[in-house]
């Protein structure tokens, strides 16, 4: 396989975007082309989860490639639940690594706020097992709540730990101009004050309102190229050094221990193995914190901390911007937002931003190795990416 590099990146604000889905995918793509100086795109992958169901838009890749005037480049849409973004990056990687193409655009878009919150929640719930979960009313918040309850019992995680994740990430998002939530929160406001229970009520006990990510619209794009092309752009050399993907049982209750996110563990091992690195080498990470508990659990499963000690590392500030392993400097899904099909590309965007040293006030000084975990389903289809700055 050939080495593959990220030559360009682009992103929209993650917020409520009142534009057609194809425009949300096209805008960051144009930014990525502008960023890289490359316009001779040979293949386009478009990540999206809800277009046909939420936006009445099918064949999104065909719309986007034409919208960008990139015809006759090849184009395909990738739907893989909330891991659609990283799945599209994987396809782009394979296209370049195989030698089939030299320049591949991976863009993404989601526009969930076209429907109301209940319909959006129902749309996301369709990724659960149709016969064992969905028909019984399981939603992602209820899944996450049951998972959290088990985690609390087994490892001593408390609501304060969850709130600490929310505060950290939402305050990181204050430093990110693309983030959905530009609203700082405090432990006093969401946990300790007499008004906290009203400000931050339970949505699925023990999860509260601020433990969940917002419903976001947004898009992000990366341009993947061969080494030769990457060097010709004059941009920092950011290598997509490792990709790991793994799956787990569709129905969560079929797992031996539901608090073990085996697909996360396996995907991270594969990604680090391919890159020839270990978790200790990572300078900055973007984890899939659709719910606050997931940041804690994933930080353990990917190998940053021993199992059951993620919340202790959080307490010590090890995951803060100035910590040993900063997690979600972008604000994560919790603060930056979660346009589901675009999230994986958005994570990659942040890591490339960081490795280039372009992340402004949230920059992790000297970051050379970055890592993303894109958590599809409820941990049943996970993709981890490892990026390395080479120069």
């Amino acid at each position: 396989m050939r080495d593959v590099y990220v030559a360009g990146i682009g992103i929209t604000s993650f917020t409520r975007l009142e534009y057609p889905l194809s425009e949300i995918a096209s805008f960051p793509a144009m930014l990525a082309m502008q960023d890289s100086g490359l316009t001779d795109i040979e293949q386009v992958y478009v990540a999206n989860m809800g277009g046909p169901r939420v936006n009445h838009q099918t064949a999104l890749a065909s719309a986007v490639v034409d919208s960008l005037s990139l015809t006759p480049a090849g184009a395909a849409a990738i739907e893989n639940g909330p891991a659609s973004g990283s799945a599209a990056i994987k396809e782009g990687f394979l296209a370049v690594a195989s030698g089939m193409h030299d320049i591949v655009l991976v863009t993404s878009a989601e526009r969930m706020r076209e429907v109301n919150n209940l319909e959006a929640t129902d749309f996301i719930a369709t990724l659960t097992h149709p016969l064992a979960e969905y028909i019984y009313g399981v939603t992602l918040p209820s899944h996450a709540a049951m998972f959290t309850r088990l985690y609390m019992e087994q490892y001593g995680v408390t609501e304060r730990h969850l709130a600490m994740v929310a505060v950290k990430n939402q305050n990181n998002a204050m430093l990110n101009e693309f983030a959905h939530l530009h609203q700082p929160i405090t432990l006093d406001g969401i946990l300790d004050s007499p008004e906290a229970m009203t400000n931050n009520p339970y949505i699925a006990e023990p999860l509260r309102f601020f433990d969940a990510c917002p419903v976001s619209d947004g898009g992000a794009a990366v341009i993947l190229v061969s080494e030769e092309i990457a060097k010709s752009t004059g941009r920092p050399l950011i290598k997509l050094a490792g990709i790991g993907q793994a799956t787990d049982t569709h129905a969560v209750h079929e797992r031996e221990n539901p608090t073990d996110l085996l697909a996360v563990r396996r995907a991270a091992e594969l990604s680090f193995g391919m890159a020839g690195l270990t978790p200790a080498d990572v300078d900055v990470a973007e984890l899939h914190d659709a719910f606050t508990i997931l940041e804690i659990a994933e930080s353990e499963e990917v190998g940053f901390f021993p199992k059951g000690e993620g919340h202790i590392a959080l307490e010590k500030g090890e995951t803060a911007l100035d910590g040993r392993i900063p997690i979600n400097p972008s604000g994560g899904l919790k603060g930056k937002g979660h346009p589901v099909g675009a999230t994986g590309v958005g994570q990659a965007h942040e890591i490339v931003h960081q490795l280039r040293g372009e992340a402004g006030e949230r920059q992790i000084a000297g970051a050379k190795v970055g890592f993303t975990c894109n958590f599809g389903g409820f941990g049943n289809n996970v993709i981890c990416l490892t990026f390395v700055r080479e120069d």
């Binding site: 409520r16 009142e18 109301n116 209940l118 609203q183 405090t186 406001g189 008004e195 009203t198």
Partner: protein
């Protein structure tokens, strides 16, 4: 002999009893003060409410236009027995709520307009005006309507208001909903929160002057594209199924 026309035009205005200011901590950690304003502070409110009349989102335009006219009429003595409360964060306007007394036992909620979003500012302000009706004015019930789905969710659904559909509300003549004392008591400590007395420094900052909003609601970027999500972004229609079922079963 000339007629003093002003005596005819000006409604008999019963003095509204003073509302003891309160404060609460928001999710942001900021402290919001809610206090009563008199006529002399209305011009400031008008200046900050007027821009919202151009925000065609979540019925801000309708609500702001009505609030503007109501509080202007209050300031100019053309509205009977109205009171106005303002919510402020660090002096900055966060919400305006108003209502009026119909009879000594019946109140009528007029409007709630939030100029800061995402922190339950409007919900806290609405709860506070209900507290004024129940605990200060001594009303047994308050008649309420909502112009927007967000309002319907916050008032009708969260408080489980009772129907008073035989009583047209002053706002547009639409059927009224009622917050009874029993419903209000049920909401105490969950929806109706806040503390007294307001610390001196907080109150001084609030009363020193009403500052403009730093991040007011803005119009949608693209009205056509926004059409589907404009009118019920909260899913309130789905949440209202309980009442729809009642209608269907009747």
């Amino acid at each position: 002999m000339s007629v003093d026309l002003e005596k005819i035009l000006r409604p008999v205005d019963h003095p509204m009893p003073p509302f003891p200011a309160k404060y609460m901590t928001l999710a942001s950690g900021e402290e919001m003060v809610i206090r009563q304003v008199e006529r002399d502070e209305v011009p400031d409110l008008l200046r900050y409410v007027e821009p919202l009349t151009h925000v065609e989102r979540d019925f801000y335009d309708v609500v702001a236009a009505r609030v503007y006219s109501e509080i202007l009429a209050y300031a100019r003595h053309r509205y009977q027995d109205q009171y106005v409360l303002v919510a402020q964060i660090d002096g900055e306007i966060a919400a305006v709520v108003n209502g009026r007394q119909v009879t000594p036992k019946l109140g009528m909620s007029l409007h709630t307009v939030a100029l800061r979003r995402g922190l339950r500012v409007g919900a806290h302000a609405f709860a506070t005006k209900m507290e004024y009706h129940m605990d200060v004015l001594g009303h047994d019930e308050v008649l309420i309507v909502a112009e927007s789905p967000i309002g319907f969710r916050r008032w009708m659904i969260e408080y489980q208001l009772e129907k008073r559909f035989d009583t047209p509300h002053e706002l547009g003549g639409v059927p009224s909903w009622s917050l009874t004392r029993e419903l209000f008591d049920r909401a105490r400590d969950t929806l109706v929160v806040g503390r007294r007395p307001v610390p001196d420094k907080l109150l001084e900052k609030a009363t020193a002057g009403i500052l403009p909003p730093s991040d007011p609601p803005t119009p949608p970027a693209d009205l056509l594209a926004a059409t589907r999500s404009m009118y019920d972004s909260t899913g309130t229609a789905l949440m209202s199924q309980r009442w729809q079922q009642e209608v269907d079963n009747a």
